[in-house]
């Protein structure tokens, strides 16, 4: 059964606190901000950290920041790539339910996740999902994919939508409304192939192939976000103005939206990478401590819903 939707980041924290605490493996944990956020999340009762990295350096950084890491399991692997491998192997072996990137490049971290032997791959594409509070702060919305898939083709977009739906379900949104974004509202070929993908995704959504959700597209961003605008423009859709998931046509669009929200609107964003056996928190060093905490909380909730609630039709 899906609980009531999470409406804000504070509710996200509260909901995550109320779950069984997952073990979060931190890859190359010897980084001040990452260490602080892991300690913070532990203090908040969200997770049980397992720190893989240079233990001496971890302890030094903990002392400098007065972090209480008593009782925390630490695995000494000074090499960052090795530490990333160890962290994902913990998930592979069932000893962790969540991973977080530390002082290792995103490329190496994702490479470890996708490792055939000890990684977290489960045969489907990874994608990046960001959560933001809606303008009226009445609900959380998701944006995808601003970090992994560069120029996804149609079938990859199907996987991206499915990944985002799993996160929406974890947030308590039983029937997510999905807006597949384009610059215009009609299929324009060959000039705008994203409009075709959007229309086909809508068809799949209507047929039930994507599970319980309402998909509309192509939808322009204003119509997706603002029901008043949609009304003025005569765009009648249950998704218009009520989108739970914004699916961008490519990484440039999603990334620009993400950073506009973060830096121009000065809003907090939580983000995770999903599609693997466990969610991964891949925060940026420039993210605020609060944003990192929200990302971990999002990972916590998602880690309790590895599988989609929907079983595809036979």
């Amino acid at each position: 059964m899906i609980p009531a939707p999470v409406r804000s980041f504070e509710e996200l924290l509260e909901r995550a606190r109320g779950t069984i605490r997952p073990r979060m493996a931190v890859a190359a944990a010897a980084e001040a901000a990452v260490l602080a956020s892991a300690a913070d999340a532990m203090k908040e009762g969200l997770i049980e950290p397992i720190l893989a990295g240079d233990v001496e350096r971890i302890q030094e950084l903990a002392a400098q920041q007065s972090l209480d890491l008593r009782g925390v399991e630490m695995l000494h692997h000074p090499n960052a790539v090795e530490a990333a491998a160890v962290a994902v192997r913990l998930v592979h072996e069932g000893r962790a339910e969540l991973v977080m990137k530390g002082l290792v490049t995103t490329k190496e971290f994702i490479r470890a996740i996708l490792n055939q032997e000890f990684g977290m791959r489960r045969g489907q594409p990874l994608s990046h999902v960001a959560a933001i509070e809606s303008a009226d702060q009445s609900r959380l919305m998701l944006l995808t994919d601003s970090g992994i898939n560069i120029r996804p083709r149609f079938n990859r977009k199907v996987a991206i939508v499915r990944n985002a739906l799993s996160v929406a379900n974890a947030l308590g949104i039983a029937v997510p409304k999905v807006a597949v974004i384009a610059a215009v509202e009609t299929v324009e070929l060959p000039a705008m192939p994203a409009t075709l993908d959007a229309a086909l995704l809508r068809r799949l959504g209507e047929s039930g192939k994507l599970g319980p959700c309402i998909v509309d597209g192509p939808l322009s961003m204003d119509n997706a976000l603002d029901s008043h605008t949609a009304e003025i423009k005569g765009r009648v859709s249950p998704v218009a103005g009520h989108a739970d998931i914004i699916v961008a046509p490519d990484i440039e669009t999603a990334n620009a939206v993400y950073k506009t929200i973060r830096y121009l609107a000065q809003r907090e964003i939580a983000s995770i990478v999903v599609g693997a056996a466990a969610p991964a928190v891949v925060s940026s060093r420039s993210d605020s401590a609060r944003s990192k905490l929200y990302s971990i909380a999002l990972g916590v909730l998602t880690s309790h819903r590895h599988e989609y609630s929907f079983t595809p039709q036979a």
């Binding site: 045969g123 594409p125 079938n155």
Partner: protein, 202 residues
């Protein structure tokens, strides 16, 4: 943190066909096609009325069926290039070629079968579409580097250009899904040689 997209199979979709199933059909038909001997002829003709009828007649007289014929102006408006694909044994085709070359309207004829040449064909195919077949059609289009140029409630129209066998391969992939309409331009070809056949002016 942008990374290259990791490739993986389409999973979780309940669809009636897979690329694997469709490939099996392709293999079945591939063997049969190899039994035919094709000749690709590049024929420069004077751009005037009745030329095509004369050229066609030269092949028909030898009982040779023209499989495809594509004609358009060259860079010299008075000359058109006809790319003709015929099947048949070498002797009969050679005889037909000689008969064709003897026509006053034919500037030059080259059998490209024995030479290296660049050959392409354009195809438009309209497919029946349903939620079951959307992922397969789109994957087939992606694999073949085809382009969707239109869609309606019930059909999707795809444009594909390439070598003849590539177009055939794509058709075999999508044929079980339901072809509503198909149009092929016929093969067009030019020799890889630096010297083309435009030397002779009418």
């Amino acid at each position: 943190m942008a990374l290259g997209a990791q490739d993986g199979p389409i999973t979780g979709l309940s669809i009636g066909y897979t690329i694997h199933d469709l490939n099996k059909q392709y293999q079945k038909h591939h063997h049969r096609e190899r039994l035919y001997m094709k000749h690709t002829l590049s024929c420069l003709v004077k751009n005037q009325r009745g030329v095509l009828a004369q050229v066609s007649e030269a092949f028909a007289a030898k009982g040779i069926n023209i499989e495809s014929l594509a004609v358009a102006e060259t860079e010299t408006p008075e000359i058109s290039r006809a790319t003709i694909v015929v099947s048949g044994d070498d002797t009969t085709v050679t005889e037909a070629e000689r008969q064709c070359e003897a026509l006053e309207v034919v500037v030059r004829l080259e059998d490209l079968a024995s030479e290296e040449f660049y050959a392409r064909e354009l195809m438009l195919v309209k497919l029946r579409v349903s939620p079951d077949t959307i992922p397969v059609i789109m994957q087939a289009a992606e694999l073949s580097q085809a382009r969707v140029i239109g869609m309606s409630d019930h059909t999707i129209t795809i444009e594909l250009s390439g070598e003849h066998h590539a177009l055939d391969g794509f058709l075999r992939l999508v044929r079980p899904l339901g072809i509503v309409a198909l149009a092929r331009s016929g093969l067009i070809a030019v020799s890889v040689d630096d010297e083309d056949t435009h030397g002779e002016q009418p």
